[in-house]
Structure formats: C-alpha cells, structure tokens
Amino acid sequence: MPPRSQPASQKKPVKAKPVVAKLTVVASGPPSSDSQKRFNPLTAYSFKGASAQLSQSSQPPPTKKRKGKEKAVEVPTDRGLVDEFILDDRLWVDVYEPKTEAELAVHVRKVEDVRRWFLEAFDGGPSGKLRRYRRILALTGPSGSGKTAAVRLLAREMGFEVLEWKSATGEASSSTWDSSFDFNGDYESAFSKFETFLNRAMSCRSVFDVPAAATPSMSSTSTQRKSNTPSSASKHVILLEDLPNILHPKIQDQFHASLRAFIESTSQLSSPVPIVIIMSDATMRGETRDELLTNGGGAGGYAWSREKNDILDIRTVLPRDLLMGPYVTQIAFNPIAPTLMKKALTALIDRHFSQRSSSSSHSDIVTPTKEIIDAIVESSNGDIRSAIMALQFNSVASKKSKKGKKHGVGSTQVMEAVTRRESSLALFHLIGRVLYNKRKGDPSSTSASAKDIKREKDLDVKLKDPSRLPPHLKEHERRASRVDIDSLYADSPIDSSLFSLYIHQNYSQFCNEMEECDGVIDWLSWVDSSGGEMWYQANPHRFHLLTLGVLHSLPSPVPRRSQKVYKSDYFEYLKKEKEAWDAVSDTRYWMMNHRGLGSEESLSMNASRWSRSEVTLELGAILKLKQQQQQMRKDKESFFPPSHSLFSKLTFTRDDKMGMQVDEDGVSKEEELQQFIALNDGEANGGLAKGPGNGDGDGDDVGGNWLENDDIEEF
C-alpha cells in the first residue's frame, strides 16, 4: 500500500532534478491502464509500455550520464542517472505496488470479501437486491495491511474507476500540481469543498467525461486515462482516505450529515456510486486516556462520558447508527501474516534484482540475505509498507557499509534500530511472561523447541544468583528471575494501568495457595492506591513495582494447567455501570418532573433531596413493588422509567461466565483499544469490539445475514 500520494515536488524537495524530469513527463500525459483518477506521479508511470514509449520521446536532461539501470524500462527518469539509489528516489513501495492478486500479500479471503462487496455494489449480488445496501464499505486495519492496495488492485481487475477525495489544504501552493484547478481567491472551507466533491461524484457522473476541474482530486491526466478505458465509465467508486478534519466536532457532524444524505439520495438511484472509506486503526497506547477514564468513572460516570474523543477511528468517521445499519459494511484487515509477507518480500527482491542484473552488470549489488528478510518480517509486525521500506533502506545501507568493509552483523543491528516498532511485544506474551514467572533453572516446557531451550540456557548463564538472605527473611528468597523488567516495560504495548487490569483478571489461575493470591492482589491494591488523587500524581514506578511484586508473589515454578489468559471484565463493568448511572439520572429527573406537574405543591423541591446513592441504595425495593402493582393494574399512567432495573435489580446466580480470551496473535490489543475508545465515546458498543479478532469475513457475514432477511421480506 503506497503512502498517500503527494505532489512530487513536496515529497522530495531536495532533489529537484528528477522531479523536473518527471513533471515534464506529466505534461505529456502517458496513457495508462491504471483506471484511478488520483494523480500519483509515482505509480502513474509504472505502466510499462506507455512509459517505455514515452521514455524514448522525452528529452533526457543533458547533464545526466547514461548508465543503464534496471528500472530504465519502467521509468523514464531513470535513464542516465548516476546512481539509482540516490537519484531514483522513488520508494520500492510505489515501484512494486502489487498488480495482481497473487502479488498482494493480503489474505485471499479478505480480498474475496472486498471483491464480493464490489460485485454486489455494482451488480447487486445473486438476488440483485443487495445493490442498494452496498453503499459504504469501511476498510479498517492497522497501517500497512494492504487496504488501499487491495482497492486499487480490484479497481484495475474489475475495471472501475476510483474517484478519490484529497484535501486540498497546502496543495494550493504547489502550482505545478493543480494548475488545472482554478483556485480563485474566494475562500471556500475545506469541508464545503468536500461536500461539493461528494455531491458531484454521486449525482453528476456525466460531468466526469469532460475534464472535471471542479473536483480537486482530479488530475490533468485523468481524462486521458479515462478516454482510454471507456468501458469502465459506468462504474465509479468514491474513495475517502484523506478525510476532512473529523476531530473537529462541527466538521464531524457535517461529515456524518453528508454521509447520511449520500445514503439517502443514492439509495433511490438505479446505479448509485458506492463509497469506500479506508481507515488505518490508530495504534496508540492507552496512556492518560485510561487514567482519565478511570478517574471520571470513579467520580460517578458523568465526567468521562462527556469526554470528546480525539482518536481517529472508524467510530468517529461513521456515526454509530450508520455503522450498525444496513448500508455500511465493515471489513477489517488483519496485519499481514509473516508467511505472506515473507513471500511478498522475496518476490519483490527477485524482481528488483533480476531486473537490475539483466539491464546492467553491476558488481556491488548486495542482495539482502535471508536472515535480513527474516529480521525485517519479524520486526515489521505485519506492516508490509514498513517492511518494504526497511528492505529498501537496508539495500542502501548495506551497499554503503560494504564500501566501509563492514557488513553482516552491523547491518542487522542497523535494521533492528530502524525497523523496530514501538509495540513489538504482543499483549499475550507480555502477560504470559509475567504470570509464568520463569526463574533460573526452571525446566523448559515440553512444547519448547530446541532453539528456545538453548536460548533459555544462555540466559541462565548470564543471570547472576541473588545473594543469600538472612534467616529472618528466608521466606522472601527466590531464584533469579528470567524476566527482564526493563525490556518488558520498554516493549509493553499497554500502559501500567491496563497491564494491572490484565494481571488482576488472570493471576488467580496461576496461584496455588491463598497466600500467593494475597501477595499479588495486595500489590495490585497498593500500586493502585500509591500516588495522589490525580493522574499526574500517580506513582511513576507502577509498572516495575507491580511486575516485581507479582513475580515475587507467584509460586515458582508456576504450575502448568493450560491456563487461558482472559480479557479484563473491567471494561464491561464500566460500561454497565455507566448505563446504570444513566438510569439513576433518568429516575431522578422523572421524579422531579413528575412531581412538578401533578401535585398542588411545588414538589420538585423534594426530588432534589434524593442524592444518587440514596436512589440506588434505598429506592430499589419500592420501585420494584410499584412496578409490579402497576403491571397488575395495567396502569396506563407512566411510572418510573423502566430502565431502573439496571440498578435496582440484582439476581444472584452461580453460573461462571468466562470472559473473552486473549489470543496469541495479539489482535486483542486492538480490541482493547477499540473498547477503550468505545467507552470513551460513551457508546455501548457490543458488536464491533470483536472486529479483527474473529477471522476473515466476519463483518461481512453480519451484514449478509441482515440483508438476507430483508430480501425474504421483500418477496
């Protein structure tokens, strides 16, 4: 998936020459089979035939020496460059954008889901009726999981056009780029431009046959491309990737409104244009948000429900009713699997270096070794873009290092430093590492591979035995721990507060005796209460203290009885608590208003006498009785809001419900974040939190069921 296209002049401001060269090419406008209208100077010329022709006709800049490079066939500007690594500044990500499904590293079923959606959107599926529901496709997933690449590839394969919205801010200055776009001094807000774009894109499709100067996303080349592919004229897709500033509440409302309007107006049309929204999940740590959340929640659930969400997320982009509604299909992309990624990288390397060797006989080419590819795949965490970037960087770096007679170990270290992403330790492993409490000399688990056993042995050698404790402290003596807390802390994908919640949810399975449990929970309690009232007064050593405390308290070795790591119930509880508080407020306001109307005295005075805890603690019984009475008498009079059962009704059951399990693939971390976000939104979000964890095509299935039912009704 290439990065958002930017004008070439912005992207590489330093190297003016190649850019100029490219821009001359732009003006001549090569015909391309690429059916998208987005102006992307980097990918627009990957069409070999056209560029090859063009390369012959265009004038090479006189300063350049002719030195055949492997990409000369593809890229006209490459000819005569001194060193393609310096002067061919195009990124491999763009050069080797997947052209066929086989090249796409995304799981086949995901691609199939997306393709099916497009088929249904254009043809209405088998029953022909799905078309009106395939209005918005939301593609979510971590960055570099191939979302955009999949859409582009399908556009090429299925022959539809992608009309992409691009925010014009900052681009007005690059005159070369939007020369066709008449920026008349009148100020037009970015959002109204967006609205115009949306309206035109969905209603006035015929306009696109002439140069569409109105839509900022159009490049001057689009028409030419268009005329080459007349068959695709009937099919359009609006792609929203570069969204307006949704974080601004007003713009967000406007955006939601225009999406609703879009659905309303296009569901009547015979051949509506579908929208594809691509959202990269923001992977950020749940740091202070978590604190705010718990603080506010503790203070009664009022404050934190008001918190404005400042994370860009599919829930902010799409209003909740739409997201749950029939018109929106969400397909969540997973991080790219290591095997697929490795295959893709190897193929890319093959292509790159075979081309290179065929076109010239350079000797100082260093093909990345298998180890380097492995390291890249491992460190990229399923982000293929970062992996390719790392690969390119590596080939540059390794070339230089060869000159300096330093290759091999050095480059892997460089790779480590460059490609290592912040959250490289999956939540599952983090919790496992702490709770299994491995210490020096522990026997390896039966499933461990020889490599793991060796690694443990090596580690044990390095560990120093702690000094003996005096007799009165004997009970605190432990063997040296294999857990390196500092690196754990550095790699932890979650902050200490969330970490403590996971420990809390799971520690009891790992304990044998009550005393061990007591140790762990006492540490949790202590760590939680150390520090002040406010989040910024919190103890800065919480993570370390908690980890050390837990390791100290757990038995050693921890018995293995196939413990399962569960997701904390805490969020579920917060959600329910919030709903219950809302019910309490409802009841209180009902009491106030009801009094005020009916009675002769101004009784509203009395209702304010009821504090919220009094309502929950004392009113419950009588509310229930009154409701029973009311039901018996079939009273029509509106009595207490029925939601009161949320706080007044508590039935004791002994069934052991088990929480959601945390999978090894580490996806649950994102679920967690989603959950956080959902909570912060003040939204009770059930269905979506399961998102990416539940395998392929899940989101689509949900939509599919709904639609099938609807179809039956229509017959």
Partner: protein, 355 residues
C-alpha cells in the same frame, strides 16, 4: 402518586417532628445574623429537609419555587461539563460529585457568579443569597481549598450551607468557618411518632408491632423507614400478621457473596467473588457500602478470634479504596485476605503462636 417520604416531608421548621431545640435555634438564626452552616449527621436523619425548612424560614414560600437548570462549565482542559442546578430566586443547590474531578471549577464558577449578583427581590427578608452544597464530604481537596477563601470574601452577599454525612473529610478551615449543626438520627420513639403521623394522614392505622419492626429495620434512617412502611403497605394492606421486610436486592446479594467467601477458599472462588463484585459495582452500589455490608455478614459467620482481624483489614482496604482508582482491586484484596485468614484458622495454623 409520589412517595410518602416526599409527600409528607415537613415544609417548615414548625412541622418538624423531632430535634425541636435545633429547630428553634435555626428559626432564630434565620431572622437574625445568619452564618455559614454545615449540617452533618447520618443518612436519613433529615438534614436536607431541615435545610429546606430553614430556607423557607428565611425567604418565605418563594424559596420553594424551584427550577432546574442545566449549566455548562468548561474545565481547564476545555472539556464541557454539564451540571444540573436546582435554584430558586434566593438560593442555588449544587451536588459537586456530579462534576467528578472538576468540582473545583464548578464551585468557583457558581460562587463567583452568585457573589457578583445582588439580591434583586426588594421584598426579600435577607440581602444575601444562599448556596447549598450537597454531599460536601465528597468535595475534593482542591474544591474545599477554593471554597475556603470565597467563604470569607463574599460574606456580604452570600451564605453557604454545606450538607455532609460526616465532618471527617472536610478540611479544618472550612469547619472553622461554619456553624456546625449536627442532625442526629431520630430515636425509636421519634421515628414511631413520624410513622404514625404519616399513617394518619394516609388514613390507616399502623399496628404497634409493625411500627416497632420497621423502626428496628431502618436503623435510624427516617427515609428508609418511610419507604419500608410504604412498601409493606403495598404488600399487605392491613399490615397485620407476620411481616417480612423485603431487603433490597443488593443487600441480599452482598450477603450471598459473604457466604461464598466463608464456604470455600480457593483461587477459583476468588474469580467467582470477583464477578459478583463486578455485578454489584455495575449496579451503582458504592464500593464502601459493598465492603461494609459483606464484611458485617462475614463477621457474623466466623469464629470470634477472627472478627477483629477481618474488620481491621476491611478498614485498611477501605482507606486504600478511597485513594485508589480501581475499587475492585481493594475489594478483592480484602476478600483474599479474609480467605487466607480463614483458611489458616481452619487448619489450626496460627502464625502468632510462633512469636
């Protein structure tokens, strides 16, 4: 059809059934120089009723014409806080716990606003306005500190009435600036008198036995007593024969949790108890109440020698709970402590004998 508690709530100081000396004092204060007052006393003793009566005494019936306003405050981090304010022409009531962490902002804003406006009603008996702060013991330190200065500064046209369950969580400067008025819980006779008078106004006879039972059950909480009476009346209209006072769901639930703790002590039982706690918490039962109810029940069911320890740890973890964020940890920590104590006792293994 409002609840009896609300319907027969005394409207002025003369109507109050008990603490007549206190009523008399408030009456004389109302006509003369009125200070800042801090009302404190247990839940259901009639603090808020007394405050309302005092307001009426000061301003006359006009103080009963209330309206509810929703006001929006901006926190320092530009977050919007929506707070509901109950106010009349003469006074304003706020419950700062609704503002969560930002109670300081809310208090300051409101006090400043009140202090800046003069009493517009020329017929008003007093020149000042009154700010009633409910649940003052849940005010954060910051807010209390903010209050302290304002109380002196705007004395000329504003008085503050604080209402709290206990003074222990209020800072000393505030206490020293207020007239402390303790509203004690009514005794059994006073409660019975109130119950009978309400029964009289509802036109039924309350049997003595029923009254005794209600008073006993409600433990000095007048509101609870009246609610129970109303519930009983609904269940069995003539109020004779054996009466079973239905406990609220959460109380029965807490008792069952206590039984779980006593009946088995194992890591898996901890998980079970934890889920029960989550259930209670998600029904908005305050964690302190949960801890107290469960602890009292556990203490009933264990050996004499354990009781002191169990209560000690309950107090210990209750303190931590007040400071900490995640209540569940501390509740659970207490449970685990109790379980391990109980287990040690059960196996006759007493650590203290080694000392």
């Amino acid at each position: 059809m409002s609840l009896w508690v609300d319907k027969y709530r005394p409207k002025n100081l003369q109507e109050l059934h008990y603490h007549h000396a206190l009523s008399k004092r408030l009456k004389s204060l109302a006509s003369g120089d009125f200070p800042h007052i801090l009302f404190y006393g247990p839940s259901g003793a009639g603090k808020k009723t007394r405050i309302a009566c005092t307001l009426r005494e000061i301003y006359g019936p006009g103080a009963e014409k209330l309206k509810i306003d929703q006001r929006i405050f901006l926190s320092p981090s530009r977050r919007k806080l929506e707070i509901n304010l109950t106010q009349s022409n003469y006074h304003i009531e706020i419950t700062p716990s609704e503002a969560g962490n930002y109670d300081r902002v809310v208090i300051q804003e409101i006090l400043k606003e009140i202090a800046q406006t003069q009493q517009v009603d020329l017929n008003a008996k007093q020149r000042f306005k009154i700010v009633v702060i409910n649940e003052a013991d849940s005010l954060s330190r910051d807010a209390q500190a903010a209050l302290r200065r304002t109380m002196e500064k705007y004395m000329s046209n504003m008085r503050i009435i604080l209402c709290a369950n206990s003074t222990s969580r209020l800072i000393a400067p505030i206490k020293s600036r207020c007239l402390l008025v303790r509203v004690a819980a009514p005794n059994a006779d006073e409660m019975a008198a109130v119950l009978n008078s309400v029964a009289g106004r509802e036109n039924f006879q309350l049997p003595e036995e029923a009254a005794r039972q209600i008073v006993e059950d409600s433990n000095g909480n007048m509101r609870k007593a009246l609610l129970v009476m109303e519930a009983l009346k609904m269940q069995s209209p003539n109020l004779t024969g054996p009466l079973t006072i239905a406990k609220p769901d959460w109380e029965t639930y807490c008792h069952k949790v206590a039984d779980l703790i006593v009946s088995e002590q194992s890591p898996s039982r901890i998980m079970e108890v934890r889920n029960k706690f989550y259930e209670l918490l998600s029904h908005c039962i305050p964690p302190t109440v949960i801890l107290k109810t469960v602890a009292e029940r556990v203490v009933e069911r264990v050996d004499e020698s354990l009781k002191a320890d169990i209560m000690h740890w309950a107090a210990f973890y209750e303190t931590r709970m007040r400071i900490g964020n995640k209540k569940i940890y501390h509740l659970e920590a207490w449970v685990v402590k109790v379980m391990s104590l109980y287990k040690q006792f059960f196996y006759g293994f007493d650590m203290s004998s080694f000392d």
